[in-house]
Assembly symmetry: C2
């Protein structure tokens, strides 16, 4: 059994209105030291698979096919073995 | 200058329809080994602050006041010094 922690971020050149909105809200709350916010997604996926290589290639395929949009987003993930 | 990487997840007891939808979509794509998906948020925040303790307490306050809903969400973050 593996737990994949998947981090999806917009590519640095892509405009991020959600991040800009959060930055504006933080400024309004008085956090004037904030110079930039980029918003992304985070997912925890449990995989019933014993082979770490297979788990790795499966998560990579999931990211590419569904979880991230490779045109505008980058992804990275960590795999950790967990008790079933 | 500090970069805060903020991870926001739903508390384990809270229902996660987004995660269930992603799990269903992964099953439809043939990833039958997926036993669970929890969806969360990820943010990268740049802070113009030289004192790591101040940066830490600011990020903690931001999470508590705006970024996370402490009733249903947990948050954690990492701080890293970056060149200005």
């Amino acid at each position: 059994m593996y737990l994949a922690k998947v981090y999806i971020t917009l590519k640095p050149t892509v405009n991020d209105p959600q991040g800009l909105t959060i930055k504006g809200a933080l400024h309004n709350l008085g956090f004037s030291t904030v110079t930039g916010v980029r918003a992304g997604k985070y997912m925890e996926i449990r995989i019933d698979e014993n082979d770490p290589k297979k788990a790795h290639s499966q998560v990579q395929e999931m990211c590419h096919k569904l979880l991230a949009n490779p045109v505008i987003e980058n992804y990275r993930f960590e795999l950790k073995e967990i008790p079933a």
